[in-house]
C-alpha cells in the first residue's frame, strides 16, 4: 500500500515537472547596438524579459554591443571565432558585407505558413529594399529612421514667412533660406537659413537630394553605383550652391553631432536630420518647431536608415526557429509601438500605427507621422558589397566638392571609377 502510494506520488510529481518544464531549454544570444539616448538599452532588456516570462524554457541573453560600428566588429569577430549569436541588430546597409562574409541566413528558410508569409509582407516596402536581395530576405526592419526637415516657427514668423509652411521645393528652400539668414552689424551671420550636416556620413543626407533629383545611387544587387550620373552631379552642385552662391548655409563641412544644438540656439532656422532626433528636439527646443518632409525637386524623396535583425549561421535549427519567433514577437504592433515611443524610430509596419497606443501618441504629437508619410517616397539607403570602402570613397568625393577642392563633376567621376574597380569582382 505504502509502496503504491509512493509510486503514485512520484508519478504525479514527474507529471507536474514535465508539464512545468518543456522538453529542453533554448538559449539565445542577441547582440544589439544603441545609437539613441533615453534608455534604449533598458527598453530592449525590458522587452526581452517580457518575452522570456511568456515563454518558459527560452533564455535570451541580450548583449549590448556598443555603437553600430562596434556591433558589426563584435558580431563578425564572434562569428569567425565560432561563437556567433543567434540574432543581432546591425545596420541595414551591412547586409551585403554579412552575405559576403557568409555569416547570415535568409529568413525564407524559416517561413513556412501563410501567416509567416503575411508577416514578411507586412513591413513598409521602403524598409524592405535594404533587407532583400536576390529574391531572399536577410533583414527584418527594427530600428529604422529617415531624415526629415525641422524648422523654427518663431524664426519663420520673424522673417515674415508663414510659420506653418516649410519649403516644398529646392527653390523655395533657397528663397526662404535667404529671408531667414540674419547678419549682425559687422556682416557676420548670426542665423543661417538651413543646415544640412556633412560630417562623418554625408552620403546619407545627400541621398535625400539625389532621390529628390530622381536618381538611385546603387542597384539592388549591390554591385553597381551611379555616382557620376548627371543628376547626382546636379544634386551635389545644388548642395554646394547653398553656401557658395546663395549664402544660406554655413560653408565647409557642417558637423552632424552639433546640428541639433545649433538649431536650439537659433544658429540655423531649418535643419535636415534624422527622425531619431524627434524626442530630443521635442524636449530641448526652446521655441515652437515644425517637422516636414524634405523639399522636392523632380520628385519627393529620402533615404531610409537604421538597423535590421539578422539571423546568424552556426547554431541549431531549433534555436534559429526560436530566434525567428522572438523577432516576430518584438516586431508585433504592441511591442513595436513601445519601442517607437521610447526611441523615436519609425515603426516599420503599418499595423503598428493602427494600435490604440500609437494613435494616441500620434494625436499628442502629430510630427511623429511625418516620417511615416514620407516612407511612401523613400528609397533604400546606399548599400553595396564592400560597403565601408564604397561609402568612404563617396563621402570623400562629397567632402572634396563641399570644401571646394574639386568641382562636383570631377569628384564624382573619380569616385565612380574607384567604386567600379572594387565592385567589378561582384558582377
Amino acid at each position: 500500500m505504502l509502496a503504491k502510494l509512493i509510486k503514485g506520488a512520484a508519478a504525479s510529481a514527474t507529471l507536474a515537472l514535465a508539464s512545468a518544464l518543456p522538453a529542453q531549454a533554448v538559449d539565445l544570444q542577441f547582440y544589439f547596438p544603441v545609437a539613441v539616448g533615453g534608455g534604449a538599452a533598458e527598453t530592449i532588456e525590458a522587452l526581452t524579459n517580457e518575452y522570456t516570462a511568456d515563454h518558459p524554457g527560452v533564455n535570451i541573453d541580450a548583449v549590448y554591443a556598443g555603437s553600430y560600428q562596434d556591433t558589426i566588429t563584435k558580431v563578425i569577430t564572434a562569428a569567425r571565432g565560432g561563437n556567433a549569436p543567434q540574432l543581432s541588430v546591425a545596420l541595414a546597409v551591412d547586409m551585403f558585407t554579412l552575405i559576403d562574409e557568409d555569416l547570415i541566413l535568409p529568413f525564407d528558410d524559416f517561413i513556412k505558413t501563410d501567416e509567416d508569409r503575411a508577416w514578411l509582407n507586412s513591413f513598409y516596402p521602403a524598409f524592405m529594399e535594404n533587407s532583400q536581395t536576390g529574391g531572399k530576405t536577410y533583414g527584418i526592419p527594427f530600428q529604422r529612421s529617415t531624415p526629415v526637415l525641422y524648422w523654427n516657427k518663431a524664426a519663420f514668423a520673424e522673417a515674415g514667412l508663414d510659420p506653418e509652411t516649410p519649403p516644398a521645393t529646392w527653390e523655395e528652400m533657397v528663397e526662404m533660406g535667404k529671408k531667414l539668414t540674419k547678419k549682425d552689424a559687422n556682416g557676420n551671420v548670426t542665423q543661417w537659413g538651413v543646415r544640412i550636416p556633412s560630417s562623418g556620413f554625408p552620403y546619407w543626407l545627400f541621398q535625400g537630394l539625389t532621390t529628390e533629383n530622381d536618381v538611385i545611387l546603387a542597384n539592388a544587387d549591390g554591385n553597381k553605383t551611379n555616382f557620376d550620373d548627371p543628376k547626382v552631379v546636379e544634386a551635389l552642385e545644388y548642395m554646394v550652391s547653398l553656401s557658395k552662391d546663395h549664402g544660406v548655409m554655413e560653408p565647409g563641412i557642417v558637423e552632424w553631432g552639433a546640428t541639433p544644438k545649433a538649431f536650439f540656439e537659433g544658429q540655423a532656422a531649418m535643419m535636415w536630420t534624422t527622425t531619431g532626433n524627434l524626442t530630443n528636439v521635442r524636449k530641448n527646443a526652446p521655441f515652437d518647431f515644425g517637422v516636414g518632409m524634405l523639399p522636392a525637386n523632380k520628385r519627393r524623396g529620402a533615404p531610409t536608415g537604421g538597423g535590421n535583425f539578422y539571423l546568424f549561421k552556426g547554431t541549431s535549427d531549433e534555436q534559429l526557429s526560436q530566434a525567428v519567433d522572438f523577432i516576430k514577437w518584438i516586431t508585433a504592433p504592441e511591442q513595436s509601438a513601445k519601442w517607437t515611443m521610447a526611441t523615436g524610430y519609425v515603426a516599420p509596419r503599418p499595423a503598428t500605427w493602427e494600435t490604440e497606443t500609437m494613435k494616441q501618441y500620434a494625436k499628442d504629437f502629430p510630427p511623429a507621422l511625418i516620417a511615416r508619410d514620407q516612407l511612401e517616397f523613400a528609397v533604400a539607403e546606399l548599400s553595396t558589397y564592400q560597403n565601408q570602402r564604397i561609402t568612404q570613397i563617396f563621402n570623400d568625393a562629397l567632402a572634396a566638392a563641399i570644401t571646394g577642392q574639386k568641382d562636383a563633376a570631377t569628384a564624382l567621376a573619380e569616385a565612380q571609377a574607384k567604386a567600379d574597380a572594387i565592385l567589378a569582382d561582384y558582377r
Binding site: 544570444q29 544603441v34 545609437a35 539616448g37 533615453g38 538599452a41 571565432g81 561563437n83 553631432g257
Partner: protein, 269 residues
C-alpha cells in the same frame, strides 16, 4: 641660457599647458552646468550636479569601476612577474636562440593588437574563457614592451653588484629580487603608469570578448552616450568622461613628482 631664451621657453610651456588643459576645462564647465550653457560662458550660470547623477544612472558604473580596477591590477601584476623573469633571462643569461627569441619579442611591438582580435578571440574561446576578466587581460600579460624596457634597465646594472651578491651566497631569484628589482624601481613605476592608463582606456577588445555587466569595464559603460542618431548631450557625456577618468587623474596628480622623475630616469618620453 639668456633671459630671452628662458622667457621664450616659459611662455612656450604656458601656451602648450593651456592648449592641453582647455578641453579638460571645457569638460568641467559643461559637466557642472545645465545643458543650455554648453556654448554660453557666463559667470552666473547655475551650478548643478544633475549631469553626474544622469550619467551615473545610465549604466551600472559601480560594478564597471570594480571590474576595471580588478582588470588593471591583474594585468599589472601579471606583466610585472612575467616581464621581470623574461627580462632577467634576456639580460643576464646566454642560451641557444636568445637573440632570435628577443627579436621575436621586439616584433610584438610592431604588430597592432587590433589585427589579432579574431585569432585572440578563437584562442580565448578554445580556453572557454569568453566573458571573463581573465579573457580581457590574457592577451596583454606577455608584453613585449615591458620585456624590452626591463631588459634594457637590467643591463645597466653593474655586473659587480651581481657578483657581490653571489659571493654572499644569494641564489638566482634572490639576486633578481634584492639587486635588480630595487634598482629598476623607476622603470617599474613608469611602465606601470603606461600600462594602467592604457588598460583603463582600452575599449574594443573588452567589448568584443565580454557580454555581461559582471565583466565589462567602464569604457563600455561610457559608450552608451555615443548616441549619434539622436544628437549628443555634451553635458552628460562630459560628466561621464570626468567620472570615468577621474580616478586616474587624481592618482596622477597625487604621484606627479614620482612619475615625472621615473620617466626621466627610465628614459620613456
Amino acid at each position: 641660457m639668456t633671459r630671452f631664451d628662458r622667457w621664450l621657453a616659459n611662455s612656450g610651456a604656458i601656451l602648450l599647458g593651456l592648449l592641453w588643459i582647455l578641453p579638460l576645462l571645457y569638460a568641467i564647465w559643461t559637466a557642472v552646468h545645465p545643458a543650455e550653457y554648453e556654448a554660453r560662458f557666463v559667470l552666473d550660470a547655475p551650478l548643478t550636479l544633475d549631469n553626474f547623477a544622469k550619467a551615473w544612472a545610465a549604466a551600472p558604473f559601480a560594478r564597471y569601476f570594480l571590474n576595471t580596477f580588478t582588470l588593471v591590477t591583474a594585468i599589472l601584476i601579471g606583466q610585472f612577474v612575467l616581464c621581470t623573469l623574461a627580462a632577467y633571462a634576456f639580460a643576464r643569461y646566454r642560451f641557444a636562440g636568445r637573440d632570435v627569441l628577443f627579436a621575436l619579442v621586439l616584433l610584438q611591438l610592431l604588430v597592432m593588437p587590433d589585427i589579432l582580435i579574431v585569432e585572440n578571440y578563437k584562442m580565448i574561446r578554445t580556453l572557454g574563457l569568453v566573458d571573463t576578466i581573465t579573457a580581457i587581460a590574457l592577451p596583454y600579460i606577455a608584453s613585449g614592451f615591458g620585456v624590452f624596457l626591463l631588459r634594457q634597465t637590467f643591463m645597466t646594472v653593474p655586473q659587480e653588484l651581481d657578483d657581490a651578491a653571489r659571493i654572499e651566497g644569494a641564489g638566482t631569484l634572490a639576486i633578481l629580487w634584492r639587486v635588480y628589482v630595487p634598482l629598476a624601481k623607476p622603470t617599474y613605476l613608469a611602465y606601470g603608469l603606461v600600462s594602467v592608463s592604457h588598460h583603463w582606456n582600452n575599449f574594443l577588445w573588452p567589448l568584443i570578448v565580454t557580454n555581461s555587466v559582471e565583466t565589462r569595464p567602464v569604457t563600455v559603460g561610457l559608450s552608451v552616450f555615443s548616441t549619434t542618431d539622436s544628437g549628443i548631450e555634451w553635458s552628460v557625456i562630459n560628466a561621464a568622461t570626468l567620472m570615468t577618468s577621474g580616478p586616474l587623474l587624481i592618482a596622477f596628480l597625487l604621484f606627479q613628482r614620482q612619475f615625472v622623475q621615473s620617466f626621466m630616469r627610465a628614459g620613456i618620453k
